[in-house]
Structures are given as structure tokens and as C-alpha cells.
């Protein structure tokens, strides 16, 4: 393996990290509130609202059913409008974020739904408002599950970031594709894939530990 490829791989690791970090951060910034809304407006919940739930639910389902590769291509004009270009690491963060938001939202909704109805009944009987109940009772009770879901989401984003290589995004995925696949350079291909696997495992392990540390029951 030549030195410039080694340098490219090191840069690739860093770019993958940057893409995964920011895309996860932004997708949680939007997906977490969205998940809370999906949860609390669904049938029998504190702020039941069929209209809101149906609209958000449909949007989430549509974005989630689109294959990520198609989403990447479809979003090129949108990405260009936001960051001024459609290739590179920064540009890849946009479709990654959009692609991850619905996944995050559904994951958050599932975690919150696991909370025992009795907890909500207790909060209501104490005179807590629906919003107070969600913030101070439901979310803290769901925290271990939310963290575990978080690790899965970050690992998914990392996997998606490799796909961004196809449309000129940076990172390990791009290197695997350009040097490893198009040039038939097997060592590069295997090195990048191994690095990706290690990164996913680290995220998963970190997530599980964090969740365990938080889980008191």
C-alpha cells in the first residue's frame, strides 16, 4: 500500500467520523422531538391527536421507505441549496441527516412506548400536565432504551455514510469504492471495510455500556 493511500485512509477515517457525528447530532435534534410528538399524539396517549399523528407518521414512513441511495440522488439540489455544493464530506451530512431523521423518530417513539402506563397514571394523579409528564416521567424512564437506540442509529448513519461515497461524499466508503473497487485494489478494500466494522463495533459497545450504566432496573 503506497503512502498516499495510507494518508487517504487516515483522512477517510476522520471524514467518516465527522459525517457520522454531525449527521447523528442533527438527525437527533430533529428526530427526537419528532419521535416525542409521534409518541404523544398516538392513540390513547397523553396528547392524542389523530391528524398530527397521521401527517407526521406518513411523512416519516415515506422518507423511511425510500432507499438511501435514491434519497442521496434526489436530495442533490437541496444539498446544493443548503451548503452550496453537492460533493464532499460537508455535503454528505445533509442527505445523511435527512435519511436518519425518520429512523431516529421511530426509534424514539418505540422507546417511549415501552414506558409502563402506570407511571403516566401516577404522574397524572399527582397533577402533572401532559408536557411535564413526558419530560419528567416518560423520557427519564425511557432513557436506557433511548441510549441503546441511539447506538443503533449512529451505527446506521455510519453505514449510510459509506454509501455517500457513490455521489462523491468523502470518508472510508469513498476510498473503498474508488481505490478498492474501481481499481481492484483488494488490500485497500479490505482495510477500509475492516476499519468500518471496527468503528461500528466501537459505537455499539460504547452505546451498550452507556445504556447499562444508566439502567437502574
Amino acid at each position: 500500500m503506497s503512502d498516499y493511500i495510507k494518508d487517504a485512509i487516515i483522512t477517510g477515517v476522520w471524514e467518516t467520523f465527522i459525517m457520522t457525528f454531525f449527521a447523528s447530532l442533527f438527525s437527533y435534534a430533529v428526530g427526537l422531538p419528532l419521535g416525542v410528538v409521534l409518541y404523544s399524539t398516538s392513540k390513547g396517549r397523553l396528547l392524542e391527536n389523530r391528524g398530527v399523528n397521521a401527517v407526521i407518521g406518513t411523512i416519516v414512513n415515506i422518507t423511511r421507505s425510500l432507499p438511501f441511495l435514491i434519497l442521496l440522488v434526489l436530495l442533490i439540489p437541496f444539498t446544493r441549496a443548503i451548503v452550496g455544493k453537492s460533493i464532499g464530506t460537508t455535503a454528505a451530512i445533509v442527505p445523511l441527516t435527512i435519511g436518519a431523521i425518520p429512523i431516529v423518530a421511530r426509534m424514539v417513539e418505540a422507546s417511549l412506548s415501552e414506558v409502563q402506563p402506570g407511571i403516566i397514571e401516577a404522574a397524572t394523579s399527582m397533577g402533572a400536565s401532559p408536557l411535564y409528564t413526558i419530560i419528567h416521567f416518560v423520557i427519564p424512564e425511557a432513557m436506557p432504551s433511548l441510549l441503546q437506540g441511539g447506538a443503533i442509529n449512529v451505527a446506521t448513519v455510519l453505514g449510510y455514510s459509506a454509501m455517500a461515497g457513490v455521489i462523491g461524499g468523502g470518508g472510508l466508503g469513498a476510498i473503498a469504492l474508488q481505490y478498492g473497487y474501481y481499481r481492484y485494489d483488494k488490500p485497500v478494500l479490505w482495510t477500509t471495510v475492516t476499519l468500518l466494522i471496527i468503528m461500528v463495533m466501537l459505537i455499539q459497545e460504547f452505546g451498550i455500556r452507556l445504556s447499562k450504566k444508566h439502567r437502574k432496573a
Binding site: Q116, G118, I119, E121, A122, A123, T124, S125, M126, G127, A128, S129, Y132, H136, F137, P140, E141, M143, P144, H214, R215, K216, A217
Partner: protein, 332 residues
């Protein structure tokens, strides 16, 4: 004494997939300030629904539930939350936050009403001391036993200085010894803090032990209501009789044998009726089952006896018991 609750002709109908189910069918009752009021009934009788109408966790379909003269159904959401601060509730499943420590759980009810941090902590510590769990304040609920969890729930319920405590099958998940301890604690709180307590249960023993008055709910109806002592010694309704006298597992030894039930109350329980009967008339009866219980310190008992075959002797025996002031009913 003032009425804490006045329920007037309360109906509750659930609609589910087009089918209707009426859980409460015109219940009217009053709960007086400072008393321990029991609501007892078999599973599915509607008692859990009834207690949930008392803090409007359930909306009534018709009728009114008044809390200190205020119709709960007329309250706006913010007013209802305000009223709920004076109506605490504990549950069969405890419903503590598992991801929060014991003291954080107790503080929750104070946090909701906006008590500042330092004051909140101090109050929570006082409450934990009352329930005898101060040393566990930094533990998580998962490390507590069922009885301890219910004590934490009681501390949490008391922290906001409520006027009423609703207990929804609060001891049903606990063993008899722990149930006794929790009931003693509730009794102590009732006496010391003059707190009105409403207890929902399917266990007769719970009502016997601490309730002043009891309402018997049967199939959504109020079957009987009154002082525990009266209802226990002289149940009128079928539902009450079923609860007070559990079904008799014994059959007469002859196909045409006659079995009767004798009910004693306080004063008569110290008289040896069966021995007297044998001594005075020579008639022998066969005791099939007997039990006594103490309600408010007075002994109540019932005995199932089989009478001899001769009609004349039977009548003599029955007359003997009736003359002694016992209540006699035929079982078979």
C-alpha cells in the same frame, strides 16, 4: 363532619369497538372527612373504575362526583391539576420511577407543585422518615422489596400534603405480613395527620383491619354501605353475604341432612352455645366449619352446623339458638 366526596348517581360506560360496557350503574355515596373508607368487590365489579372517577383519571358518563362540594367534571384542565394536588393515589403496581432514586421519587410530587430544591429535599426526607425508609433514600427502587416500594409510594403521596389518599389495591401484590405492616402505617397516618383514606380492595381482611365504613360494589352497583361492624355482623345484600361468608365447602353427611349457619356478634361470642345446647337438651350437632374475626376489637363469628335427623330436635335446636340471640340461616 364535612363530606370529602359526594357521588350522585354515577354512571360509567365504556365504548369499545362498537360494544358498550357499563362499569358503574348509578353509584351514590359519601365519604366523610377523616375516615378510612373501604370499597370492596370482586374483580371486575367496577371498584377500580370507581376510584378513578374520584380524581378524574376516568370521566363519568353521567352523574356527579363532588370533591369538597366542587364538581370534578366542571373543572378546567389547570383547575383539575390544582385539585389533584390534594388527592394523592397509590397503586397495586407502585408506579415508581425506576430510573430515579427513592428520594427523587418522593420529591416528584413536590417538584410538580414547584417547591424549591432545598425545601423539597427536606420535606422528602421527613416523609421517608415517616415511612421508615430514610436510610434507603439514595437507593434505586429495583433494589427494594415490594413492601418498601409501597412505602416509598406512600411517602411520595403524602409529600404534597394531600387531603385524601386513594389506595387502589395497594396491598394486593404484597404478602399477608407486609400487607399488615402497610395497613398499620396507613392507620397511623390517618390518625396522626387526620388524612381521609379511601381503600379499594378485594380482600375482606383489609377492610376488617382498618376501615371505618365500607361500600360493597357488585356488578357496577352499590350493593351495601355502612359501618364495617354492621355490615360484617349483619350483611343484608347477597354480594355482602358472599364476601362476609365465603362459600361453605362442606356438605351435610346425609342427603336430606339440614345445615344451618349461626352468626355471632360481640357479646354472644363469649357464650358457649353448643356446649349449652348439649347440656340442656341433649341434642348433638355436628360442627362443619367455624371462624371468628375481630372487627374493631369486637369478635364476630360464624359457624356452620349440621342438625340431627329428627324434625323435632332440629326445631328445638334452632329455637335454642334464636332465643340466645344468634342469627340463624339455612344453608341446605
Amino acid at each position: 363532619m364535612e363530606n370529602v366526596y359526594e357521588l350522585n348517581n354515577v354512571y360509567k360506560t365504556y365504548k369499545n369497538d362498537g360494544r358498550e360496557f357499563t362499569a358503574l350503574k348509578g353509584v351514590s355515596l359519601e365519604v366523610k372527612e377523616g375516615e378510612i373508607f373501604g370499597i370492596i368487590g370482586m374483580s371486575g365489579a367496577g371498584k377500580s373504575t370507581l376510584v378513578r372517577t374520584l380524581n378524574r383519571l376516568e370521566e363519568v358518563t353521567s352523574g356527579t362526583v363532588s370533591f369538597y362540594g366542587k364538581d370534578l367534571a366542571a373543572l378546567k384542565p389547570a383547575e383539575l391539576r390544582e385539585v389533584r394536588h390534594s388527592i394523592s393515589m397509590i397503586f397495586q403496581g407502585f408506579n415508581l420511577l425506576n430510573q430515579r432514586t427513592v428520594i427523587q421519587n418522593v420529591e416528584q410530587s413536590l417538584k410538580i407543585i414547584g417547591v424549591p430544591r432545598v425545601k423539597r429535599r427536606k420535606k422528602a426526607e421527613q416523609m421517608l422518615e415517616i415511612v421508615g425508609l430514610l436510610e434507603k433514600c439514595n437507593e434505586y427502587p429495583a433494589r427494594l422489596s415490594g413492601g418498601q416500594k409501597q412505602r416509598v409510594a406512600i411517602a411520595r403521596a403524602l409529600a404534597a400534603d394531600p387531603k385524601v389518599l386513594l389506595c387502589d389495591e395497594a396491598t394486593s401484590a404484597l404478602d399477608p405480613k407486609i400487607t399488615g405492616e402497610i395497613l398499620d402505617l396507613l392507620k397511623k397516618i390517618n390518625e396522626e395527620r387526620k388524612l381521609t383514606i379511601i381503600i379499594i380492595t378485594h380482600e375482606m381482611a383489609v377492610v376488617e383491619k382498618i376501615c371505618d365504613r365500607v361500600a360493597i360494589i357488585d356488578d357496577g352497583n352499590l350493593a351495601e354501605i355502612g359501618d364495617v361492624k354492621e355490615v360484617f355482623s349483619n350483611p343484608q345484600s347477597k354480594a355482602a353475604k358472599k364476601l362476609v361468608f365465603p362459600s361453605n365447602p362442606f356438605e351435610a353427611s346425609h342427603p336430606d341432612g339440614k345445615v344451618i349457619r349461626l352468626v355471632f356478634d360481640g357479646t354472644q361470642s363469649s357464650v358457649p352455645f353448643i356446649a349449652n345446647l348439649v347440656e340442656k337438651t341433649g341434642i348433638k350437632v355436628n360442627i362443619l366449619s367455624a371462624n371468628t374475626k375481630s372487627v374493631g376489637g369486637i369478635g364476630y363469628g360464624q359457624m356452620i352446623v349440621e342438625l340431627p335427623e329428627s324434625q323435632k330436635e332440629r326445631q328445638t335446636a334452632i329455637d335454642f339458638f334464636r332465643d340466645g340471640g344468634l342469627s340463624v340461616t339455612e344453608v341446605s
